[in-house]
Symmetry: C2
């Protein structure tokens, strides 16, 4: 089940110069499924990453951070599904280290030029010998047109592969962006969930790439929620191979930077939204837009309070325009001096938007029929004006259905 | 459905000298149900209250706070179900004010000696004329032995009435405590939920009563969660009529204060836990005990992260000893310098306790059979040692079942 999310077509996913991908069946947790992906990068590629803040973060997260910090130039990524290698202590660190060493030896690079990623069951040990045995198979498979395969090989309980390509023009050169992501729940049952890899053959300085990554992550992957849980393995990696021939971008004031930034943002938002659309048990896709805040932080607080409320989410599942639940969530979001008399709330879908609350209560113009009609849609927006300033923030989420409980109560494969 | 919660027997609920209660069928929202309760207090009673922090708090909450602050001596409480009088603006304030004035006139007291409380659907207006018409009926019904009736009259979608009495001895005088509560969800669908009234005929100074209320509320009603939502109307009121004849308690170092404090705490914890046991769709009662924290605040953060996690709550529903979900919730609770290697986690039930995690992963002594056996119980404890200090906190919650979604997706009566 997913909300208006189509599976990608292999032909729509464009190769990115300087980036090759290979997959293998390593039998990490189950036989006969592609569970190992290697991404090899041309020399000179710039790579930037953001990772989960969970204190129980996985061994590969620790190692990826360390390898990025080492600054030797990342040349490969390796991703396994099945086992998350989180909550595995020293043995887990050793397994991730071995993975990097073995892949480095295959590719003739250094171990700290490899970023490892794992997703799957936590508290179980990675069968590192089987993973290592799969590396030569994945390396032998390295091709530039394997994004479709990679998008599928990183899936766990996602119901639809998430992948997209775009092309832009920078200084007369055609530049390609292709990205893949996996999600399912913000944190799947035992699964450590959100991974996304976005590559371009644009050339951009490391410093600007880092800044771009953080700006974009804040407005995409850090603006979604399925169930409020934060995984042990969440990672978002931005790769710029520089192989397109376009000149390196070194100035945030340049037109090229603006063009690249817009494309990276669009791709990232699309991939992040795709994760929500394929959220566990999702039947509705909901945008919570908060504006008129004193600062972005308080807008995000309100948006997340609404997006996390089990009462709001079950009301969306039921297509019930239950304004009381939305107003109550705004009320407990933590803005101590919020003046509810200045607040306005609109519900929207399919191009229609209706004022539902103002002056501390139901809007006098509001009729329940309009709310009910809007709530039938698969995509719904809640717009909240706080009347305190000019800051804004948007959070995307899904509803809370019987299937969410079913998936999470039944799951442990 | 409730977890090990028995309905009170009328004979077990003891009159509190100086406190009389009366109920009526006012037809606030539905006909033929008792939906109006008046509690009349002897002159000289001390009353203290804590209220929701929700910015969308109801009109009666505003008025109750103002009347307590006026300091004229509270002589009556009036509670209606059906309509919460929240999100109702100026009209709502006027309705609550009228309620107080009319009751005051019935009882020959001042309007600001009355505390009004409402619970029910929010965003709808209180039919104040029907409520006012019910007041003489409730006042004519005033009796000291009506706690059983009042416990039922304040229920909304609670499945079991929540009430209990205790007796203690203070300076040779028998002192009685009787309390009632209503809950159902931390915040019911459209309902504004948690109300509790605890009365004693002990005599205690206003200053000490206020301090006792805040201390007790923190360890009882402010230590429970059903779904993480905070209602617009939550209120907990402590009444000391002083009519027992026991001398007034004015010193926190006295033995009488210690005895009274212990009884009020025990009653409040029992009433708060009763609300969780009757939580929406609850099938399990869970105690999350966090110890070894640097301070109580961080212990509460961790306890609430675990108690709020939909993934943890669905695992309890499924009787699945899913340690990964508990560890992940601890990891994202917001303690930035948490050393997961020092953490220990135990699962317990029916007098048995098993170490399940230590040194950043599964405990080597842990076998899944032990976890599975514990998770079958209706009452389960999760004990978490942070290894950072000596502070501790406990939060009580329930599991997250199909019925939670069903109740909240179907509800709008």
């Amino acid at each position: 089940m997913s909300v208006r999310l189509s599976a990608p077509l292999a032909a729509d996913l464009l190769p990115v110069a300087g980036v090759r991908l290979g997959v293998a069946e390593a039998g990490i947790r189950k036989a006969n499924r592609r569970d190992l992906t290697v991404i090899a990068l041309a020399e000179g590629s710039h790579v930037s990453g953001v990772f989960t803040l969970n204190r129980f973060c996985a061994a590969p997260v620790h190692l990826s951070k360390a390898h990025l910090a080492a600054g030797k130039g990342i040349r490969a990524l390796v991703i396994n599904t099945g086992i998350a290698n989180a909550g595995t202590g020293e043995q887990g660190m050793a397994a991730a280290q071995t993975t990097c060493e073995e892949l480095a030896s295959q590719l003739g690079i250094e171990a700290d030029q490899v970023l490892p990623f794992s997703t799957g069951v936590i508290l179980e040990h990675l069968p590192v010998e089987r993973l290592v045995a799969g590396l030569p198979v994945a390396c032998a498979d390295l091709r530039s047109d394997a994004w479709f395969d990679a998008a599928h090989a990183i899936m766990t309980t996602d119901t639809v592969a998430k992948a997209r390509s775009m092309q832009i023009s920078l200084a007369g050169h055609t530049v390609t962006l292709t990205g893949i992501a996996k999600g399912a729940g913000m944190m799947k049952p035992n699964m450590a969930t959100m991974l996304s890899f976005l590559a371009t053959d644009a050339a951009i300085s490391q410093k600007l790439l880092d800044a771009l990554l953080h700006e974009v992550a804040d407005q995409s992957f850090n603006s979604i929620t399925v169930d409020g849980d934060t995984s042990t393995n969440d990672s978002f990696v931005l790769i710029a191979s520089g192989a397109s021939g376009a000149p390196e971008i070194t100035d945030t004031a340049s037109a090229d930077y603006a063009t690249l930034r817009a494309a990276v943002l669009e791709m990232s938002v699309w991939l992040a939204q795709a994760i929500v659309r394929d959220g566990e048990g999702a039947t509705k896709f909901i945008s919570v837009v908060v504006e008129g805040g004193a600062d972005r932080a308080e807008c995000r607080k309100v948006a997340y309070a609404v997006a996390h409320s089990p009462l709001v989410k079950t009301a969306f599942f039921a297509s019930d325009p239950n304004l009381g639940r939305i107003l109550a969530a705004i009320g407990y979001a933590g803005i101590e001096d919020l003046d509810v008399a200045k607040l306005k709330v609109w519900l929207g879908s399919r191009g229609e938007e209706v004022l539902v609350a103002e002056q501390g209560g139901r809007a006098s113009s509001y009729v329940e029929e309009a709310g009910s009609r809007i709530m039938q849609a698969e995509e719904i927006s809640v717009r909240i004006a706080l009347g305190r300033g000019v800051a804004a923030a948007t959070v995307w989420t899904c509803d809370f259905s019987y299937d969410y409980v079913k998936i999470n109560a039944d799951y442990r494969s």
